[in-house]
Amino acid sequence: MKKINLLKLYVIIFSFISYSCVEEVEFENMDSFEDVLVIEGTITNEFKQHKIKLTRTFQFEENEPIPESNAVVRVLSSSQDIYEFQEVEPGEYLSTSEFSALPNNTYQLKIITASNQEYSSMPVSLTSTTQINSINVERQFNGNGTDGVAISVNSFDPTGNSRFYRYEYEETYQIIAPFWSRFDAVVVSENPPDTEVSLRTREERVCYNTQFSTGIIQEQTNNLTEDRVTGKVVRFIASDNFILRSRYSILIKQFVQSPEAFSFFETLNELSGSQSLLSQNQPGFINGNITSITNPNERVIGFFEASSVSEQRIFFNFIDFLDRGTDRLPSYIVPCNFTAPIEDSALISTIQRRSLVFFRENDDDQNIIPPGGPYVMVTSECGDCTLIGSNIVPDFWVD
């Protein structure tokens, strides 16, 4: 008996030493929370209304940043131009006029918050311009061994001045509702329950959805002899991703960054990446190029950039990359299920809430679907694409 106890002790000791010495702990930062202004601001050589975003850091328990509203935001140029920005949404400031950043000018961001704190960036100049030469789409396996399509960029700056690149993209994918019908079930009377079938009045079969890239995608050519970006994968989509089911389009924007901006975002990325217990990055505050005028020791997060940008759009259908014998298109975003509810108040509310969508009449020509109500109803997204996308064809769309 004693021996067993002793062994137990060893177990405690060794499980402790071997791997239990690291334990996850509840982390609250109530005491340590530091309220810091976060500035996102990039002006480009595009002639447009530029956007500056001001938020504040938030506690770990919260999900959303607090917008910094009612600030005075302006960009000053070395040629004495002042571009005023106005808050259009909480924390989002748009330039009141359209302008483009010009070469040989420097730009400085100035902010005065509602609490009368003044911030200023270092003067930045517009980076040199480089065009995207081409965008390639290729079926391949990515680093994790996942099958999919890689969308990559090629660009070349013969002057060799660009060197540091950051990418953003906007992808738009077509959604075709697989069980769309020209008809729809409409409520005639709630009490007594009565319904009828009529033609749909709007586009609900083909929709489009656009999403924007998040995170920081960077590439540099500094250690290469030529300033040439070759096959930089900006977007990789796994072959089972729903967005590849129909036609797909991507607009890739290539920003040329200054070396300082590049290393700021690179460090930011390194710190946020997943890290193993074996290799940790040195954590810490990352200095940007914006400081507080009111209190020089106050910390500010963000980097104000003047980047030249070039963009290119491509379209493709994933089906062209498929091996017809074995491959299949990715399945629809939701599984599509059929049911035929009895015509009663429940059906009325289903139609009204559009939780199910009409597919066909439940008649003898085809299989009768239980429990045998008048209509075969399908999972709503499968019959009406507007629930997950927009039925307006984007301006740029080419079929």
Binding site: N223, T267, S272, S274, Q280, P283, F285
Partner: protein
């Protein structure tokens, strides 16, 4: 007669003035005196010390009621020639004829003696020397060296020789040889050699060493000569006398910041998992800290972990710990004394800024086979010493290992069956005395650790070291040694989680040093040490290879590094007068980074801009052994001691040094993957200066030692890391590191009680350690370019180590440690940038983990003390962290899919009881 006198001399050290009056009731009839004494021992705390044949066999009878021990003894010994003395700790020493005096002989240990002037007057005295002048009762042996020559005007002669243990014939190191009343002192080195300069005529030489009977000789010297000294072991009161011999060393030595730890002293300190550990004791002394339980390095006086030169028999040990630093990798049975130089570093050592840990393996017994063994819950340890050629050569072999692997495997618990945790170390030392003038010793050492950090990774590391030392005595004034050593440290991580990220990673550092050290004794005022050393480094920073077919890890190989470091040193020990002693050392340090292969690459960055990918402009190629860059400069090691009074001294020192090898230590993780990086064209050597001032006072016959030391240290090019730096297998490591200024200062207080039933020490230090990383570029600047607390800045540090002897066999011990929690960088909020949630971190090291405190207790039982017993045994029962305090070692954060997860690593958060059995034979 002589024997008794020595006996008295020995014991007179520990007698103290206070005596307790205790009353005794005892009755005896027709008993022999010896039996009467035994019955007193049985009834009381008193213990008698005597030689049996002093007592006659006449039978005595007595009946005493509430009498004092004195009265009883007076009656028992009334008609005999036995005298007695009662010590404060209830020891009664019987003496024949001699009366023991309460006070020390007035000349004992005094280095300054007013009535004696070691000048011409002595010569006059000695010339008139006449054998009749010897006092009748004198039992000191008189030895004449040389013939009197009236025609010479030489006033001083050199006496030299070897000191040996009479029983084992082994050479005695750290033996103090002093000339009474003349402020001439010498301490033997590991070769047991001594050489002192004596004024012509009569000299009374006193020889002292812990654990040995002291010896006095009267030397009448008229010429240079040799006298070999033979000392006997002091069997009784071993541990107490041990401490005595070098007792006033702290006050006397001319160097500051020296900490000495003796293996014998630490025997009773509570243990962690049954391991007696010299380095763990070191961190209870002020000025020596670790970043936390489970940190493998030491922070000495605010210096980084990589700034300590840890030498085992002259060879460097890169990682002196097992199991994340929970155990030291040094076998406590084979280790002799440890000297830690944290202030003045002797000029013979270089290459590290903060300290030198000089650990010497014991010389083996060359007379007979002996050994020591211990059995604990985690490790077992056995050490054997044996002569190879009697009185000439001997070998010591110590081996220690864990059996935890076996325990883990034999368990039913499935989760533990595959885990591994084991270590072992082996040390062997061979001593060969070729002849009187030549001595060879060689040491081999190997230690290996293997354990799982996470369930699917296997981590192992090893230290290997070999050293060879040839000592040669040229003549009475010159001796020296030639040392060749080689060390290797490597680690390997295998990650096999059946994933596509499986890898195998390796790292290795190897160094070989050749050193010549010479000693020259000009006279009793001037001693010189000088020499030269050269060291070749080879670093293989590692490779990572995919493990298994499906692994998608790319093979990376970081190119090898090579460098040559050398030093030329002279140090002069100058006893200016009775009060002032100076130690003046200078070392010229030189370093060359060399091409390791025929195509060694050094990356070139735009000058004047931060080093990163964006400023990398090219590469420069070097052929094998081509000089890439050289560094060097003089280093000063200067210290002085001045006696402010008897047993009271002040010392001051200035120490400067260069360091060419740096650790890349990612202290935000738990893994001991520190790698060493050589200085090259992108990474400059560290340079440091230290000023220190201290006061040392011994009280009550060295029963109490008190010291107060302050230091102020500045350093340059201390390695730190950029935000976001990742060090493991980074191909452009120079772009991840920053070099900045270091500043540390502190005050250290130590009160030690070395004798008596209750002994131990109390240490306190207030110390700060800062780093400054300032640059014109935000990327290279940390915390606005201001000084900030370093990773190991722990201002308050209190250690109390106490040992209470209940009886001769039973003792209690306890130690308590309190430290301010170390600084960490905390996440202080989230923010969204570019649509991704990110973590905002505080300024570097702006927060602290909770304060550290821990109490350990131990109970020791020693076997009986019969001299002729086959083996001596010793039990230790201890509880580590009795309070069960969960002391976090580090708190760190991992961003995982946008979520921040906090991890805390702690080593022992529960009380750990252990029992260890030690056996000495």
């Amino acid at each position: 007669m002589k024997y008794i006198a020595l006996f008295i001399l020995l014991f007179s050290y520990q007698l103290t003035i206070s005596q307790e009056k205790k009353e005794i009731t005892i009755k005896f009839e027709n008993l022999k005196k010896i039996d009467v004494l035994k019955s007193i021992e049985a009834q009381t705390q008193y213990r008698f010390y005597f030689i049996e044949n002093w007592l006659d066999d006449t039978l005595i009878t007595g009946d005493y009621y509430n009498q004092s021990i004195k009265d009883i003894l007076n009656i028992i010994f009334s008609k005999t020639d036995i005298n007695y003395y009662i010590s404060s700790d209830n020891k009664i020493f019987l003496t024949k004829n001699n009366l023991i005096s309460d006070s020390l002989p007035s000349t004992f240990f005094k280095s300054t003696q007013k009535e004696n002037k070691p000048t011409d007057s002595i010569i006059t005295e000695s010339i008139q020397y006449n054998e009749n002048n010897i006092i009748q009762s004198d039992i000191i042996e008189t030895i004449r060296i040389g013939k009197q020559n009236k025609n010479t005007n030489k006033k001083k002669y050199i006496l030299s020789g070897y000191a040996r243990n009479k029983n084992t014939n082994s050479l005695i190191s750290n033996l103090i040889i002093s000339v009474k009343g003349k402020n001439i002192n010498f301490v033997t080195g590991s070769n047991g050699f001594y050489s002192i300069e004596l004024p012509i005529g009569i000299n009374l030489i006193e020889v002292k060493k812990l654990g040995l009977s002291s010896l006095e000789k009267r030397i009448i010297i008229y010429g240079d000569g040799v006298l070999n000294l033979y000392l006997t072991d002091d069997v009784e009161e071993l541990s107490e006398v041990v401490i005595d011999a070098s007792k006033d060393k702290n006050v006397k030595e001319a160097i500051t910041g020296l900490t000495q730890i003796k293996t014998e002293e630490i025997k009773n300190i509570p243990l962690v998992l049954g391991e007696r550990d010299i380095l763990k004791v070191a961190i209870t002394l002020p000025g020596i800290k670790t970043a936390g339980e489970g940190s493998s390095g030491f922070n000495v006086r605010g210096g980084k972990e990589d700034q300590n030169l840890i030498l085992l028999d002259n060879g460097v040990i890169y990682n002196p710990t097992h199991f994340f630093g929970i155990f030291s990798a040094l076998n406590p049975f084979t280790s002799g004394d440890v000297n830690i130089y944290k202030g003045t570093i002797p000029a013979e050592y270089g290459g590290r800024l903060s300290s030198v840990f000089e650990i010497n393996t014991k010389n083996a017994n060359d007379k007979k086979v002996s050994g020591e063994a211990s059995i604990g819950p985690v490790t077992s340890n056995i050490t054997i010493e044996t002569p190879i050629i009697k009185n000439k050569s001997s070998i010591l072999v110590g081996a220690r290992g864990t059996y935890s692997d076996w325990i883990l495997r034999s368990l039913d618990e499935e989760s533990l069956q595959n885990s591994r945790a084991s270590f072992y170390d082996i040390v062997a030392k061979y001593n060969h005395k070729v002849n009187e003038k030549n001595n060879i010793q060689t040491t081999g050492y190997f230690s290996k650790d293997q354990f799982s950090i996470t369930s699917d990774s296997l981590f192992n590391y090893s230290n290997r070291l070999a050293s060879l030392k040839w000592s040669h005595t040229f003549n009475d004034r010159n001796y020296g040694s030639l040392i060749l050593s080689n060390s290797q440290y490597k680690f390997n991580i295998e990650f096999d989680g059946n994933s596509t990220n499986d890898f195998d990673l390796g790292y290795e550092v190897n160094e070989t040093e050749l050193k010549l050290k010479m000693n020259y004794l000009l006279n009793d005022k001037h001693k010189f040490d000088y020499g030269i050393s050269g060291k070749l480094y080879n670093v293989d920073p590692g490779n990572i290879d995919p493990l298994g077919q499906q692994s998608i890890i790319e093979s990376i190989e970081i190119p090898e590094e090579r460098a040559f470091e050398s030093g030329l040193f002279v140090s002069h020990n100058y006893n200016a007068n009775e009060k002032l002693s100076l130690n003046l050392g200078i070392r010229y340090s030189f370093y060359a980074a060399l091409g390791a292969t025929n195509n060694s690459i050094q990356r070139v960055y735009t000058t004047g801009l931060p080093r990163n990918q964006t400023t990398l402009v090219g590469e420069e190629s070097f052929s094998k052994n081509e000089v890439i860059e050289t560094f060097g400069g003089p280093e000063f090691r200067i210290s002085a001691r001045y006696f402010l009074g008897e047993d009271f001294s002040a010392k001051a020192s200035f120490n400067s040094s260069y360091q060419y090898i740096h650790t890349l230590s990612n202290n935000t993780t738990v893994s001991p993957t520190d790698t060493w990086k050589l200085s090259d064209s992108n990474i400059r050597p560290q340079q440091g200066n230290q000023y220190s001032l201290g006061f040392y006072k011994n009280l009550k016959n060295n029963t109490f030692e008190f010291s107060l030391e302050g230091y102020y240290k500045t350093s340059k090019n201390i390695l730190d890391y950029k935000v976001g730096a990742n060090l493991l297998l980074n191909q452009t490591i120079e772009a991840e590191v920053l070099q900045g200024d270091g500043l540390s200062y502190g005050i250290e207080f130590l009160l030690k009680k070395t004798k008596g039933r209750l002994n131990g020490w109390l240490g306190y230090s207030y110390s700060r350690s800062f780093v400054k990383l300032e640059s014109d570029f935000a990327e290279e600047q940390i915390n606005n370019g201001d000084f900030f607390a370093s990773n190991f800045d722990k201002p308050h540090d209190v250690s109390l180590v106490l040992n209470y002897k209940l009886t001769k066999r039973f003792s209690f011990s306890g130690n308590f440690t309190y430290q301010t929690g170390r600084p960490v960088t905390f996440p202080v909020g989230s923010f969204i940038l570019n649509g991704v949630e990110r973590v905002n971190y505080s300024d570097r090291n702006a927060f602290r983990i909770p304060d550290f405190y821990r109490l350990d207790v131990g109970f020791n039982v020693e076997g009986n003390h019969k001299i002729k017993k086959l083996a001596h045994s010793f039990w230790n029962i201890s509880i580590y962290n009795v309070l069960g305090r969960n002391n976090p070692y580090s708190v760190f954060f991992v961003t995982d899919n946008g979520d921040i997860r906090a991890f805390e690593s702690s080593i022992f958060s529960i009380p750990i009881p252990t029992i260890t059995y030690n056996l000495k034979f």
